[in-house]
């Protein structure tokens, strides 16, 4: 998300002409989930998130996984590698807040069309992809 904001530093005027920013809780309160392209960052760690990512998938034509966590689950997936002592410590929290047994990448639950790797994501690749979407009309 921060790299997305940084990529706007010099490009916002041009992108605003070509892109309708429909959904970003970071930027506005009133949002519309129905979009052409969804950019999704982060891994899937709870049952609620599984439902949520399925909704996001249904509401878009093209879904782009942004950054290492969305693509590979790591670095958010530390707990997948915990020893039993650590697993026991965190167990009550996992249960209480409806966590999944492990942390998963987006592709475990939905079809991912494109991806931008890196931690943080590679800004050049992200900008290239967005410009390609603009050029091709998605």
């Amino acid at each position: 998300m921060m790299v997305f904001l940084e990529s706007l530093n010099s490009r916002l005027p041009a992108w605003q002409k070509a892109i309708d920013f429909k959904y970003s809780k970071l930027l506005r309160k009133k949002n519309d989930m129905k979009v052409d392209v969804s950019f999704v960052e982060g891994a899937i760690s709870t049952k609620d998130e599984v439902e949520r990512i399925k909704q996001v998938r249904k509401a878009c034509k093209v879904l782009v996984a942004i950054g290492a966590c969305a693509i590979d689950a790591s670095p958010s997936a530390h707990r997948n590698f915990f020893a039993s002592k650590e697993l026991n410590e965190i167990k009550p929290i996992l249960k209480k807040f409806g966590y999944l047994d492990k942390v998963y990448p987006l592709s475990k639950f939905i079809k991912v069309d494109r991806q931008v790797p890196g931690c943080p994501m590679d800004e050049g690749k992200f900008v290239g992809l967005v410009e390609q979407f603009i050029k091709d009309g998605v």
């Binding site: 998300m1 921060m2 530093n9 605003q16 970071l26 915990f82 931690c119």
Partner: protein, 424 residues
Amino acid sequence: MHKDMDIKIGTLSKIEGHANLDIKIRKGKVEDVKLRVMENKRFYTQTVRGKPATAVPALVSRICGTCSISHLTCATEAIEKALGVEPSEQTMLLRKLAMYGTIIRDHAVHLYLFCLPDMFGADSLLDFAGKNKHMIGECFEIKAAGNALSTWAAGRAIHPAFSRIGGWSVLPKPENVRGVIEKLGHSREHALELARTFHECDWNFERDSQFIALVTPDFSFLEGEVCGTKGFCVPEGDYYDHLHSVIIPYSQATAYELEGKEYMVGALARFNLNKDALHLDTIRDCGKMLKTFPTGNVFSNNLAQAIEIVHCIDHATELLESITIKQEKPKEPELKTGRGAGAIEAPRGTLWYGFDIANGAIKDGHIVIPTAQNQIKMENDIRALVTELIGKPKETIVSECEKLIRAFDPCMSCASHFLKVRWL
């Protein structure tokens, strides 16, 4: 007049990370306020155990992209103190500059993208039109200047790569300094204008609380004692001994009290305690605005942040004008075992790391996040605000609560990632 009302705000907008707010009003009284941090835990407290100490700063940097330089810098300080490493003057200077870059960028995001829309009755800065449209460009110009500074000093503005335990693995290139100075210079007038805008804002919300911050001699966010507006003052290593964590059953975050009471950290606390240490050029150009402080008005946190952007530009420019980079390698730790703690002022307030290291690996670690420290005051303030607003329409109560929460500038991504552990 409404006697009963339930307010649920799912996923608060225009803050860092995810949180919900539930308010319950019964018989004209606020019965319950719950600020639920909804970010998932990634269990960093457990994750760091057994990891090589030298690898931990880059690991905890991933707690939050926005705050990555702060986590990296503070974790590095705590590990260096544990292992007997004294960073060189040049290393401290580069850390200062990287932090100034991050403060400029973070405050610009918070003030322009999260707060200004409330002041101008828009949902988003991107919707600003007419005579206010110029603010969009100014926001991104200031952000870019902050980024340029962090990138020059530390390699990247998010998860920077040059910093190591003991120093810098790759040193910045002095020939690129001029471009950074120019960018900072172009941003200065915008930052002053931004400060004037917040100074003219008459929003007020005040309750009696202690304000806590690391008091640094040159307002550089890195070194000093942790002090409070009600007489509290301890060396940074001892800070944790005066806190106790409060488990909030409905939230994924831990909260803190200081000696049994709520308190607030952040730019407002820094100004209430230490405004005289600001850069002289900043004091000269913001003198009238600085008379606002000390104040308990939470909304003045926004004004303090705007003036901090000016200070970071002024002090960074002065440091860069005379900087020379001498070739030196990171210092090697003398010890493999030890215990150490450090505090810095992150954009959102005092950040504290403590590590217990054995044979070069982390045995135990603890981290105190600014937003977790503000959580109890935030809830108490919301309760008092809603009490004042009872009888007003629901939409008014919701928007007033959102404005107040944004003034604290919480970061939910950071707040959720730690579990209370016993310090062994």
